[in-house]
């Protein structure tokens, strides 16, 4: 685990958070005793804050070349699932509080946010499906150029190159289609001009259909926008006021924490995975005294920086593997453009090297894409379950 690397930084931050916690706890304590709050409650709430912080420190300790990689996104979802689970336990242990105002309102607010997150999950699942389509095209390239395990002995002939080229062009178009549709039309022709000398492909029935295919396959409505949805999730997400904390026996804090965690996780998913009307303009106004604020804010900043990089600006998703896929396939395409037959040994080596790189990306996708999809589904179902449980107890 890379978490040890950042221990030096994360420890003081955690301490900073902790040093503030007892203060708040004392306030709560002094008011809560007459109502009959239990000391175990405080321990539980404090431990929750610390767990969330530890988990995000661990996530934030990722080296920059692994940030937004499939394994990292999966870890992010794991973190969410763990936090949600602990949160559920807290609510369960404080059932009596949950129905009382202002707790009922705070919970209803949080539930509203989670319902919005469900639509994000659906859109993300569509995005993963989209990546899977790209993956299929990459497999064709590998199959043609001997990158797949079955045909490793294949000679690199002209026919194979043509086949690979075709799949690479399909891939480039499919990936372009994912970008902002207005941009894509203008962009498509330009990048076509760069990659090959003919633009006739965009009028090919096959390619046109790939483009159309996308707009029809979403699970959310046509006008849905991930950017707006993220803003809605973050809407009115405010640090609970002192009197709210007191009136809820401190439970307002974990609700706020979960709201922030939810917002960040959904935001990071939208950042990583292609989905309808992506946009990352969400404000995180988390006060630094929360022990988990520092890692979340730092991750937020790093991801934003990533999105501003020149070669990522127009990316349909910041997922590292998408970037690698795009880069490897582009390099391979350029190389394929330049080869002449019979193939020189030097070129062949170069091609084999490029194919190897592409295979690495493909393998990473193969390994993690499906589990990621299952996790997104798990997040979806957990949210639904926590909602239905909530209804049961109310």
């Amino acid at each position: 685990m890379p978490s040890t690397e950042y221990q030096g930084i994360s420890a003081p931050l955690t301490n900073l958070g902790r040093s503030l916690l007892p203060l708040r706890r004392d306030q709560v304590h002094s008011m809560e005793s007459p109502i009959g709050g239990s000391p175990s409650n405080e321990v539980e709430l404090e431990s929750f804050q610390r767990q969330v912080a530890d988990r995000f420190h661990d996530l934030a300790s990722v080296p920059s070349d692994e940030l937004l990689s499939l394994p990292w996104v999966r870890k992010l979802l794991d973190v969410f699932l763990c936090c949600q689970e602990e949160f559920r336990v807290i609510l369960f242990n404080n059932k009596s509080q949950v129905k009382k105002p202002p707790m009922d309102r705070l919970i209803a607010d949080y539930n509203e946010r989670t319902v919005k997150a469900l639509d994000v999950c659906n859109a993300i699942r569509d995005g993963i499906e989209q990546i899977r389509q790209w993956q299929k095209l990459i497999e064709i390239v590998l199959c043609a150029l001997g990158g797949d395990s079955n045909s490793s002995q294949r000679s690199l002939g002209e026919g194979q190159f043509r086949r690979a080229r075709k799949a690479l062009i399909d891939l480039a178009i499919a990936m372009l289609d994912e970008k902002d549709s207005g941009q894509a039309v203008a962009h498509r022709n330009r990048s076509f001009g760069r990659h090959n000398n003919s633009s006739s492909h965009s009028r090919d029935p096959h390619h046109r259909s790939l483009g159309h295919f996308r707009s029809l396959s979403w699970s959310v409505s046509r006008t849905w926008s991930a950017a707006r949805q993220l803003q809605a999730i973050g809407n009115n997400l405010a640090v609970p006021r002192g009197n709210e904390v007191l009136a809820t026996n401190g439970l307002a804090m974990p609700i706020y924490t979960m709201g922030s965690v939810l917002l960040f996780v959904m935001w990071a998913l939208v950042a990583a995975i292609p989905c309808q009307d992506r946009g990352l303009q969400v404000h995180f106004n988390v006060p630094r005294q929360f022990p988990w604020a520092a890692p979340i804010l730092s991750l937020h900043e790093r991801i934003l920086e990533e999105s501003k990089k020149r070669d990522r600006k127009n990316a349909c998703g910041l997922l590292r593997e998408i970037y690698q896929m795009e880069k490897c396939s582009r390099l391979l395409g350029e190389l394929a453009d330049s080869v002449q037959f019979p193939l020189s040994e030097e070129k062949e080596k170069e091609v084999i090297q490029r194919v190897k790189e592409l295979k690495l990306v493909s393998d990473a996708m193969k390994e993690d894409l499906e589990p990621l999809e299952k996790q997104v589904r798990e997040v979806f179902h957990r949210i639904v379950r926590s909602r239905t449980e909530g209804l049961d107890s109310l």
Binding site: I140, E158, R203, R208, F341
Partner: protein, 655 residues
């Protein structure tokens, strides 16, 4: 778009393409020089010469392929015989000929020609594969590259034809899609489907194009282009299915938006959803499965492709029931919609079919179904809660059937129409809860009816027991015990009649319950008789009238007076009481008459002579037995009678 079709290949590959296109052009020209009708010339052309030469060439190619396959040492490059080049040229020129035709109509003009082409492509693929196994020198490399390029060209041709054929749905149903800017409601689309212009059934493929697609797919898969073929197939079928969803009036609803809707709108959406899912189960999926099977010869490929399509479509459909789980109130009347969805999902699961490629989909569908089932359980439990919490202190006027009884019984009767689904839902619920529920106690005494041990029956009886307890409690609100019994009888009778009137609910409750209920009712009846009429009968007792061996006139007068008063009071009060079940009412009247009239008649016969005829008799014997009978007949009609002076209904409003 068709025009651009021919230039597509070379355009994609600038360098190679340029080189190749020169080649193509030359062979193309060659064809044209030879004949003006290149299409027919090659196959049926003048003279058998050409055909014989070609057959000979193909035999030679087959032999060459056989030699390559049987060669021991693959490190030595094979010699490329002279006939290979004409063979490649032939295939290449055939490709060009086909390319000149309109996409989606390339094949089928000449069966023989088509067969020859497909066979040639298979041969070409074998040549490429066989050469691939050998070490290459410059000659074999050249041949390998050229053969490989032509094979790829052939594959691209086949792929394009495959896509064009698959895309044909668009041409046939373009109009109807364009016509309806807004999605149709299910009803409208059903209506429209009766009209001739949209008569073409999904998925709109004539048998000829299916057979061409089958040929194309088989050739592509043989040549190792399975991935291309499957990608093309999946993407166009998904597109068609999505369009068909749209045609059927289905559009995605965001979870968030659904949750905000009023129940009435949600109900409409549920109907819409049930329509589309049923349409998938009954129409789309079987048709789609057939299409896969008829195009792809390998069962595993066909299954996988169908599984992928079904998954893509179903995953979207599953969002909806999940959104329904999030609605804010699980009120009792929503039960039936949840059960409808549960049943629709059951059908869907069996429609998809369990298979390796649909394993995940089935488990996800089952999970959603399970959740819906759990929601149905909690809604049903809402009913229990609503019975428990119904503790109003004001009794129903006149001892009539309580609205709670009506509501609950009608609800249960309706619920029993879903008894199989409810049984499944409660069984699953009890299994996941670790089944702490007690088994029904009288299970074994119940005529061996299997339903008596069912989970739903247990639950149903629990509700009925709760209702009984509640009605019992409510009966105590009446000050007059007789009215309590009338109330109990009314409600008990109502329940009994509801159960008897529906075989569904009768099956669930079992005969034992009916017997118990009937005996309870008899007991209430007896109690009522005792409460109301025993004192009246005492007035007419022959005992206690004699003083010193003689009938005492004053006691007799007293008896008559109190009988009259009691009877009048009872008549006045109980005429306003309500027994709505006609049979129960007449049973009550008959039994009252049977007790009161003979006693009165005999009392009258025995003692009326002791009163002085005339004034005294008129004063004390106010009613003849026939009149008593008539008055008894006026009871329980819920009316205030002429006999009653006060309109006060004898009800207690206290605790």
């Amino acid at each position: 778009m068709e025009e651009s079709f021919n230039t597509e290949k070379s355009g994609s590959f600038p360098r190679l393409g340029r080189r190749r296109s020169k080649l193509e052009t030359s062979s193309f020209k060659l064809e044209h020089v030879k004949t003006k009708e290149p299409d027919d010339k090659q196959i049926t052309g003048p003279g058998l010469d050409c055909g014989l030469k070609r057959d000979h060439m193909l035999e030679q190619v087959d032999e060459f392929i056989g030699n390559l396959a049987s060669a021991q040492d693959k490190s030595i490059s094979p010699e490329i015989p002279d006939f290979v080049e004409p063979f490649l040229k032939m295939v290449d020129s055939r490709i060009l000929t086909y390319e000149m035709r309109e996409a989606s109509a390339m094949f089928g003009q000449n069966q023989e020609e088509d067969s020859l082409f497909f066979e040639a492509v298979i041969r070409l693929s074998k040549v490429v594969d066989s050469l691939d196994e050998f070490a290459h020198d410059s000659e074999t490399t050249g041949c390998f590259n050229r053969a490989g390029s032509i094979l790829h060209h052939a594959m691209s041709l086949l792929e394009n034809e495959f896509l064009a054929l698959l895309d044909i749905w668009k041409r046939s149903c373009n109009m109807s899609i364009l016509d309806s800017k807004t999605p149709k409601t299910p009803k409208e689309s059903v209506f429209n489907s009766n009209q001739p212009e949209t008569e073409i059934e999904f998925p709109y493929f004539p048998p000829e194009s299916i057979s061409v697609m089958n040929r194309v797919a088989t050739a592509m898969i043989f040549a190792g282009y399975e991935a291309e073929c499957c990608v093309a197939y999946t993407s166009l079928r998904l597109k068609a299915l999505n369009a068909e969803f749209y045609n059927q009036g289905y559009e995605n609803i965001n979870m968030e938006d659904f949750q905000r809707m009023e129940w009435a709108s949600q109900e409409r959406e549920i109907e819409n959803w049930i329509h589309i899912v049923t349409y998938c189960t009954v129409n789309l999926f079987p048709v789609e499965r057939n299409l896969c099977n008829s195009i792809f010869e390998h069962d595993s490929t066909a299954r996988r492709l169908f599984g992928d399509l079904a998954t893509s479509m179903t995953v979207k459909l599953l969002n909806f029931p999940n959104a329904l789980l999030l609605i804010k109130q699980y009120s009792t009347e929503k039960l039936f919609k949840f059960l409808d969805i549960h049943e629709t999902l059951s059908d869907l699961i069996s429609g998809i079919g369990n298979d390796l490629s649909t394993k995940d989909l089935i488990s996800e569908t089952s999970l959603t179904q399970h959740r819906i089932g759990e929601a149905a359980v909690s809604i049903f439990c809402e009913l229990e809660d609503s019975i428990k919490s119904d503790n109003g202190r004001i009794p129903v006027a006149n001892g009539a059937v309580h609205p709670l009884t009506r509501y609950t019984m009608n609800y249960l009767k309706y619920a029993c129409e879903y008894k199989d689904t409810l049984e499944q839902v409660f069984r699953e619920h009890n299994e996941t809860e670790g089944s702490t529920e007690q088994e029904p106690k009288n299970a074994t005494e119940d005529d061996g009816e299997s339903t008596s041990t069912s989970h739903f029956a247990t639950q149903l009886r629990l509700v009925m027991d709760l209702l009984d307890a509640n009605i019992d409690m409510k009966s105590n609100l009446y000050k007059d015990p007789s009215l309590s019994y009338i109330f109990l009888m009314n409600n008990g009778r109502y329940m009994l009649q509801k159960v008897k009137s529906s075989t569904d609910i009768h099956e669930v409750t079992g005969n034992d319950w009916l017997r118990k209920r009937s005996s309870d009712l008899r007991q209430y009846h007896k109690n009522y008789q005792r409460e109301t009429w025993s004192k009246v009968l005492q007035c007419m007792s022959h005992e206690g009238l004699q003083v010193h061996g003689r009938v005492s006139k004053s006691i007799l007068k007293e008896r008559f007076k109190s009988f009259n008063a009691m009877f009048e009071e009872i008549h006045k009060t109980q005429c306003s009481w309500m027994v709505s079940d006609e049979q129960l009412k007449s049973e009550l009247k008959i039994s009252i008459s049977a007790v009161v009239i003979p006693a009165y008649r005999s009392f009258l016969g025995r003692f009326s002579s002791h009163l002085d005829t005339g004034k005294q008799q008129q004063k004390y014997i106010k009613y003849q037995p026939e009149e008593i009978e008539g008055l008894i007949d006026e009871l329980f009609e819920g009316t205030v009678t002429s006999l009653g002076r006060r309109r006060h209904i004898h009800l207690s409003h206290g605790r």
